[in-house]
């Protein structure tokens, strides 16, 4: 197998390289939202429809029906944007795939099956309301939930491998002794997969809660809104503390295995015993300091290594060109952690009020905080993903293959980046408009049926389409 450094031999190679990375970044950043919803929403569907069937309560079933409609659009966009990614692995990083395809192809192949099952049972779920018995219909949500979670697990094992390569040997630059199972179960896998999967439940739960918090703020206080809010928040509240715990485990794992990433995350330029924990601030590579940060003395040494006197390596101690840019990594890390604690606080406040009042709290400040949480959950996902990806640079496979050596030799990446970004922006805008319209449509039908007691109405029954003029 041909391997080794490719010398960029064309004008503009640097901008092509940057464009290639940017395109992969936008594609992933776009897809990750839908992927997270694809993991989280089926669980909410399963819960809502399950409760509805068990209690013979149509409001819960209506919730599931509404979410299913939105999920139909979201899943479609997620499926096609995910397909683009599988193309882009080769289109942008043929050097990586030539090298790593056989090592990390296994989880992707497994993910293919999981995705297959998710698509099949989602087809049954979305179009089977009238064709399947209620129980059979509800049962379809189980394989969707399982395969959604499995997809996330498989894909993240591949990313964990890029951080923690295992399961192969290099013989004069040639990949040999491949052990696909060992590659999949690399040391980073348990740490990273659990954290990412929890983040999907967290962000989805808060996003759903946010939708209903916004509805209640606009005066719709029916049972459907309160239950939608409560169920979404229940999922978020379970995930929030676990996120903090697994986040801490991840940071300590990074400290042990990717010291340059940790230094970038913390804005640590100098090697230091008893390093402070910097909250906020903006790393300045010119002066090799991180000004404007609140420093907690010895905090970083303690959190990373369990000792207030532990030595934390700084970015300056690594050879030039082997460290990531600390600016996006540090800022991304602050954003992720900050949001994590904010969401935990919101969830805790909600639960305390719920427990004391025995009813879903609808205080306006709390509702506004919940609306913000809906956006913040996904912001945290994007930020965390930036931390791990940019923090790994300049490596695409940590310590083994540099990103620059994996980029495609094909020309035109700048144009490709511009066009694909425009496409994603357009798709995103259209999607937002359509989802808002979907919500508006259900509001209209609510007004029309305001006299039925709970202020809710069934969606129009799904009939076989009209026969048309025959």
């Amino acid at each position: 197998m041909r391997q080794g450094r490719r010398v960029p031999g064309r004008v503009g190679a640097v901008s092509e390289y940057v464009a290639g990375r940017a395109q992969m970044g936008t594609s992933l950043g776009f897809h990750i939202v839908f992927a997270a919803l694809g993991v989280g929403l089926p669980v909410l569907l399963m819960a809502a429809e399950g409760i509805g069937l068990r209690r013979h309560d149509q409001v819960w079933v209506d919730l599931a029906r509404r979410w299913a409609k939105a999920f139909g659009i979201l899943f479609a966009v997620g499926a096609v944007s995910g397909t683009v990614l599988s193309f882009e692995l080769g289109l942008l990083w043929p050097g990586f795939m030539r090298y790593a395809g056989q090592i990390i192809g296994m989880p992707f192949s497994l993910e293919g099956f999981a995705f297959f099952l998710e698509a099949i049972f989602l087809g049954l779920y979305l179009y089977g309301w009238e064709r399947l018995s209620p129980l059979a219909h509800w049962l379809c949500s189980i394989p969707i939930s399982i395969s959604g979670a499995a997809s996330a697990w498989f894909v993240v094992t591949a990313n964990a491998w890029m951080n923690s390569p295992a399961g192969f040997r290099l013989d004069h630059g040639v990949v040999t002794d491949v052990d696909p199972l060992a590659a999949m179960l690399n040391r980073g896998t348990p740490i990273e997969t659990v954290h990412v999967m929890l983040s999907c439940y967290l962000a989805t739960g808060f996003a759903v809660a946010a939708v209903y918090a916004a509805g209640i703020l606009r005066g719709r206080r029916g049972a459907l809104h309160r239950r939608g809010l409560a169920l979404g928040l229940a999922m978020g509240a379970v995930a929030a503390p676990l996120m903090i715990v697994t986040g801490d485990i991840n940071a300590r794992w990074v400290a042990d295995n990717q010291p340059a990433k940790l230094a970038a995350m913390e804005g640590q330029f100098q090697t230091e015993a008893g390093a402070p924990l910097r909250i906020g601030g903006f790393p300045d590579p010119g002066s090799h300091t991180t000004p404007l940060a609140i420093e907690i003395p010895a905090g970083l040494s303690f959190l990373a290594y369990g000792s207030t006197t532990a030595v934390v390596r700084g970015l300056d101690s690594f050879p030039a060109g082997s460290t990531p840019d600390p600016r996006p990594v540090h800022v991304g890390f602050q954003v992720m952690v900050g949001i994590g604690f904010f969401l935990l606080g919101v969830a805790a406040l909600f639960l305390v009020l719920l427990w004391r009042r025995h009813r879903v709290p609808t205080d306006r400040p709390l509702l506004w905080a919940l609306v913000a949480s809906g956006f913040l959950g996904f912001t945290a996902i994007e930020a965390g993903w930036m931390v791990t990806e940019i923090g790994r640079q300049p490596w695409i496979v940590y310590g083994v293959l540099r990103t620059r050596d994996a980029i495609t030799p094909a020309p035109g990446l700048v144009l490709s980046f511009v066009l694909s970004t425009a496409l994603y922006v357009g798709l995103g805008l259209i999607l937002v408009v359509l989802l808002l319209r979907l919500a508006a449509g259900t509001r209209r039908s609510e007004r029309e049926a305001a006299s039925d007691g709970i202020g809710e109405t069934l969606p129009p029954p799904r009939r076989r389409p009209a026969r048309g003029r025959q």
């Binding site: 995910g82 882009e88 692995l89 192809g105 297959f116 099949i120 009209a466």
Partner: protein, 333 residues
């Protein structure tokens, strides 16, 4: 068992996925083509018919492509990398088409008025462009023009032969969709719509025949090795393709819709099978062979285990999906 046998087993599974993608997702592309070309007093009804047929199954059908891509880069990484570099532009266009088609289809279901029309148009155009581009890529591969170096973005897939393959893919997708829709509309008791799609199936079949006959001399010029294979080792499959094409046309003429559907799907499978046999042992001629680019034996072995276990879950699930939405026994005549 020698490792080479296992390499070929994986290659055969992946090629089967190509066939499944063509037979199932190809018809979804074809549905989009007929959506674009929907005309006459029943134009809007034809569009609804396409949407109704595609709705529950198109996402699952689409996954065959992902199955194929992930399998290819796992089992034959060098082949995957070469295809990605050599066909950079058309693959990018195909990815674009796939996004536009899927997103527009999903968006249209929830849009109104102007938006509905625009999404419908995007869905139709992307549904026509994507199989054309993928067919041209297939032509570039079959003619042995794909190279692992960037540079000329257009040359490999814009030769007359490759473009003819693109046109053939387009007409085949259209024909498949029309044939499938005759069965669906016939079962729903819509004689006029059934007749619309019957005419379209015959039209597409005629177009495919003409394009195939035009492609033949081009094959002689641009892909002589492929032609030798088609008329040599793969001759039985080549003849089967022709036979099934005639059978599909004859059955459609006689309004034997279910038979026509089966023959049309079989014809596509036979055609792709003939191509595979004709160019074996090469995945991407003239250099990249099954054995030459296969991953290490332990990867191939593990992948086969995954396919066996995954298939045990996948096949019953797929059957369930099609039984619920496409009638109890799609293969019955």
């Amino acid at each position: 068992m020698s490792p080479a046998v296992l390499d070929y087993a994986v290659a055969a599974i992946l090629w089967s996925a190509v066939i499944a993608y063509a037979v199932f997702a190809g018809a979804d592309f074809g549905g989009g083509i007929w959506d674009l070309l929907a005309t006459g007093p029943r134009g809007e009804v034809q569009r609804r018919s396409v949407s109704r047929a595609m709705g529950p199954v198109w996402e699952a059908n689409h996954v065959w492509l992902i199955f194929m891509i992930t399998g290819l880069f796992t089992a034959f990484p060098a082949t995957f990398a070469t295809l990605a570099v050599g066909l950079y532009l058309p693959f990018s266009l195909a990815a674009l088409g796939i996004v536009l088609r899927g997103a527009a289809f999903a968006f249209r279901a929830h849009a109104r008025d102007v938006g509905r029309e625009a999404f419908g148009r995007a869905f139709g155009i992307a549904s026509a462009a994507t199989p054309f581009v993928l067919g041209a890529c297939a032509g570039a591969v079959a003619a042995g023009r794909v190279r692992p170096v960037g540079g000329d973005l257009l040359a490999p897939w814009t030769t007359p032969f490759a473009l003819a393959c693109g046109a053939l893919a387009l007409s085949i997708c259209a024909g498949l969709a029309a044939a499938y829709l005759t069965v669906e509309e016939d079962a729903l008791g819509h004689p006029a719509l059934t007749e619309d799609f019957r005419r379209r199936a015959l039209l597409a079949g005629g177009a495919s025949t003409v394009i195939a006959l035009v492609t033949l001399p081009l094959t002689r010029i641009e892909a002589p090795a492929l032609l030798d294979g088609l008329l040599g080792r793969a001759l039985p499959l080549t003849l089967l393709t022709a036979g099934l094409a005639i059978a599909a046309g004859a059955a459609m003429l006689r309004r034997r819709y279910r038979l026509a559907r089966l023959a049309a799907a079989g014809q596509v499978a036979a055609l792709l099978g003939a191509w595979a046999f004709a160019q074996a042992p090469y995945l991407v001629p003239p250099n990249l062979s099954v054995e030459g680019t296969a991953a290490q034996p332990q990867v191939i072995g593990a992948l086969l285990v995954v396919y066996a276990l995954g298939g045990a879950l996948l096949v019953p699930s797929l059957i369930l999906l099609f039984r619920v939405f496409k009638g109890r026994n799609p293969a019955a005549l």
